[in-house]
């Protein structure tokens, strides 16, 4: 695997990213983007995990 933290560094701006989501509360697909979070002045917790059937 690559070195720790890839291209992002603590204390530095994270380059914009966007991905498709499944929204359980709506039963629909959606989009999540950092630019949108910044625009709406919201904190983001990104929580990576290996697969849906594993624990947190």
């Amino acid at each position: 695997m690559s070195e720790c933290c890839g291209g992002v560094k603590l204390g530095q701006k994270v380059p914009d990213f966007e991905f498709t989501t499944y929204e359980p509360t709506k039963g629909e697909f959606g989009k999540f983007s950092l630019a949108e979070q910044v625009k709406n002045k919201r904190w983001t917790i990104l929580f990576f995990y290996p697969a849906d059937f594993t624990f947190v």
């Binding site: 695997m1 690559s2 070195e3 720790c4 933290c5 890839g6 291209g7 992002v8 560094k9 603590l10 204390g11 530095q12 701006k13 994270v14 380059p15 914009d16 990213f17 991905f19 498709t20 989501t21 499944y22 929204e23 359980p24 509360t25 039963g27 697909f29 959606g30 999540f32 950092l34 979070q37 910044v38 709406n40 002045k41 919201r42 904190w43 983001t44 917790i45 990104l46 929580f47 990576f48 995990y49 290996p50 697969a51 849906d52 059937f53 594993t54 624990f55 947190v56």
Partner: protein
């Protein structure tokens, strides 16, 4: 303080839909489940395992300006402590508001003991500052 938790794996959104709908353990999931089937985002954050094509258990706290303030990583076989994640999130919000204070390890929530203006005067006096 507005915060959004979003989970990300290298599964597709279709897989998330199927698991969330059918697995009882996921019945109460309210957060968006992100799809990163190419591993692009996982690579960007350094959590992509090239040997398996899966994302490791990485957690990242990004402030409202888009700056990264917390990163931690667990291997596959160790789960994360959500209380500790919440503590770190609250601490980041707190020090973002009170920039002359720092949250020591036992800090849990607003009102708990912080160190104010840590600097030359505190050298050798941290114990007293934490008691006071």
């Amino acid at each position: 303080m507005g915060c959004d938790l979003v989970t990300v794996s290298t599964d597709t959104q279709f897989v998330h839909l199927a698991w969330q709908r059918d697995e009882k353990e996921l019945a109460n999931v309210k957060y968006p489940m992100g799809a990163d089937p190419t591993g692009k985002l996982a690579r960007m954050f350094g959590v992509y395992d090239e040997n398996t094509g899966l994302a490791l258990r990485g957690t990242f706290i990004i402030n409202p300006e888009g700056t990264l303030f917390n990163a931690d990583f667990n291997w596959y076989n160790i789960g994360r402590n959500i209380d500790e994640l919440l503590r770190k999130f609250k601490a980041n919000v707190y020090v973002g508001r009170k920039t002359n204070e720092v949250c020591p390890s036992k800090w849990k929530d607003d009102g708990d003991k912080t160190l104010v203006n840590p600097g030359a005067k505190m050298v050798g006096k941290v114990h007293e500052a934490l008691q006071g």
